[in-house]
């Protein structure tokens, strides 16, 4: 009887295609919204995770804000030691200073950010040497005139390769000669640093030969293995607040907090789309109820005949309930395809990863079936309660 009823439902919808389509429109929109919400939410999460993990989730960036703030005076080279001593979970606190300068090798010249670094720089950023080596503690202590080139700087200054061991000139008032001791592998820019387009010199050499370092531009903190980045950045904020008493005078940013912001945005978006989904499912459900009531009225005589042939009220109720559920499931399936298509287009447009969720499809199917049962029940009860004689003689 179950299959007969399903077949019957399809027959009925087939003979009233436009009406059927209009009646399931609400369900289609509702389910499409659900699918779009979940697919986009999931795609956003996956994309952000992907992006964030390429930046290095374990680093925290600390900036001073404003020109004359307490914090700016606080960003001295000594802050690194203070941070390490006072905040748990910090492995390195790398001071960053950089200035754009002109570099030359023979006839090749290049404008690059010259960065003052210490030996722990590569460790914090997961930055790897392609050839030669990076700045050592000894280079820094003895203020050696050595330089390490970012991938792009190297290719611009040494188009023929083989930079290690050669000398370049860095122009700061006058040309200063530096020996190239290493070339870095390429690395995606992050934390406001364009690694490939920079060159790296020991901090002390930078301070003495290129530019006096009074204040540190910003610190990049590497956390200890297993430490929770969010917890550590919270502690850093608390410590800086203790030192400055002014929460506006510094900023503590980590990829994890950026991810947190994104999650916040998607949450808001979800809430909004969930609202749309809820409303359209409600409207859709009422549409289903309406069409089913029309169907019951139109088929009063059929109901009478079926009763005369021995259909119990339960059987009639089942028939109309199945019909409503078939209708909403059909709408649900169309909604799933629409929603999946729409979110695919959006992800392509936003250059996100497309991450559809099987569980969302299942949820959508359950939801639309549920709407069918809920809103189909009343018309079905109406149908089952018809008096056989009255239904039979209905014109």
């Amino acid at each position: 009887m179950f299959f007969e009823n399903i077949k019957l439902a399809f027959k009925d919808f087939g003979s009233n295609k436009l009406r059927t389509f209009l009646s399931i429109l609400g369900i289609v929109i509702g389910v499409a919204s659900i699918i779009t919400i979940t697919t986009l939410g999931r795609s956003a999460t996956v994309s952000i995770q992907n992006q964030v993990s390429s930046m290095g989730l374990e680093t925290i960036n600390i900036f001073p804000r404003g020109n004359d703030s307490e914090a700016r005076r606080l960003f001295t080279p000594e802050l690194a030691g203070k941070l390490k001593d006072n905040v748990e979970g910090i492995k390195d606190a790398v001071p960053i200073n950089q200035t754009p300068m002109l570099l030359k090798h023979g006839r090749d010249s290049y404008q690059a950010n010259v960065m003052a670094v210490t030996d722990d720089f590569t460790d914090v950023f997961d930055y790897e040497v392609e050839s030669g080596g990076f700045i050592t503690e000894d280079d820094n202590a003895r203020r050696k005139s050595v330089v390490v080139l970012g991938a792009e700087a190297a290719s611009k200054l040494f188009p023929g390769g083989d930079a290690v061991g050669k000398y370049i000139r860095i122009y700061r008032k006058q040309a200063k000669s530096f020996r190239v001791i290493g070339v870095m592998k390429t690395r995606t820019a992050s934390m406001r640093m364009d690694f490939d387009a920079a060159v790296y010199v020991p901090r002390n050499t930078y301070n003495q030969r290129l530019k006096r370092i009074r204040r540190v531009r910003n610190y990049v903190v590497g956390t200890e293995k297993g430490a929770d980045v969010l917890v550590v950045s919270g502690k850093i904020e608390a410590y800086l607040f203790k030192l400055t008493g002014d929460a506006d005078s510094y900023r503590v940013i980590s990829p994890a907090t950026i991810a947190g912001i994104y999650t916040g945005i998607t949450k808001t978006l979800n809430l909004f789309l969930t609202g749309i989904a809820a409303i359209s499912l409600l409207v859709g459900g009422i549409g289903i109820m309406n069409i089913m009531l029309v169907s019951v009225a139109e088929r009063t005589r059929e109901i009478g005949i079926r009763k005369a042939l021995g259909a119990t009220p339960k059987v009639i109720r089942g028939q109309f309930l199945i019909e409503a559920v078939v209708l909403t499931l059909f709408g649900g399936l169309i909604g799933i395809s629409f929603g999946t298509g729409l979110s695919y287009i959006i992800t392509v447009f936003l250059k996100w990863l497309f991450a559809p969720q099987f569980s969302a499809f299942l949820l959508a199917v359950l939801f639309s079936g549920g709407v069918g049962i809920f809103f189909g029940l009343y018309p079905a009860i109406q149908a089952s309660g018809l008096q056989p004689v009255e239904a039979l003689t209905y014109e």
């Binding site: 009887m1 007969e4 019957l8 027959k11 009925d12 003979s15 005589r301 059929e302 009478g304 005949i305 079926r306 009763k307 005369a308 042939l309 021995g310 259909a311 119990t312 009220p313 339960k314 059987v315 008096q387 056989p388 004689v389 039979l392």
Partner: protein, 228 residues
């Protein structure tokens, strides 16, 4: 159940219809016994209560007062669920307006009562084909009722009434929408069905049916005025 026992017993049955404030007394106290295997004609003018009586016998409705027994079972106060089961098993209905389901094939029409009796699909199909064969419509199984003539439709209705092998066949003016010739062949069919041992009750205006039946009940204004 012996062929000569009482299969239907109607005891002082009254049926009122309430239309707004008016009460229509469709049956005013009908008492009647019908023997198993009988071919009974019910005759009377329009509005006399014939259809009402048929509906009550066929368990499509319950009386306002009085008792109805089918094969000894009191059916006058049963609920919808129980009435549906009796309609399905004990009674086969044939209506003046055929009352076929227009959206499905005639084979599916005839299979429907068996579906409500929870007969397995394969058996349903076999029995329905058999029943349609017995009314001479084997070559039309997949046709829709609308593709058939009046006489053919009524034969489908008869097949549908017979398919559950009920002991009682009720026909309410089965020839009312048919031409004389076709009507005669339909009546002949009922005669044959009766010959196979089923109790057949036919409501009619047609004196010819009266002639065919061994017993005719005359009804007027909701009261039996004579039996011959």
């Amino acid at each position: 159940m012996t062929a000569s026992g009482t299969i239907i017993k109607i005891a002082d049955v009254k049926k009122d219809y309430i239309l707004g404030k008016a009460v229509i007394k469709a049956l005013r106290g009908v008492t009647l016994k019908i023997q198993s295997g009988e071919l009974l004609a019910i005759m009377g003018p329009s509005g006399s209560g014939k259809t009402t009586l048929m509906h009550l016998i066929g368990c499509l409705d319950i009386p306002t007062s009085g008792k109805i027994y089918l094969e000894g079972e009191d059916v006058s106060e049963l609920n919808e669920e129980a009435l549906a089961r009796i309609r399905n098993r004990k009674v086969g209905f044939v209506f003046q307006q055929f009352n076929l389901l227009s959206r499905i094939s005639i084979l599916e029409n005839v299979m429907t009562p068996l579906m409500y009796a929870h007969v397995p699909v394969k058996k349903r199909r076999e029995s329905a084909e058999e029943a349609l064969k017995s009314v001479g419509l084997s070559d039309r199984l997949t046709h829709r009722p609308t593709e058939l003539s009046g006489g053919q439709r009524q034969r489908v209705a008869i097949a549908r009434a017979l398919v559950t092998d009920p002991s009682i066949i009720l026909a309410d003016e089965p020839t009312g929408n048919l031409d004389t010739e076709t009507g005669r062949s339909i009546l002949e069919m009922f005669n044959k069905i009766n010959g196979n041992g089923k109790t057949v009750i036919i409501v009619t205006h047609d004196p010819e049916v009266g002639a065919l039946a061994r017993k005719t009940v005359h009804i007027r204004d909701g009261i039996i005025t004579g039996i011959d």
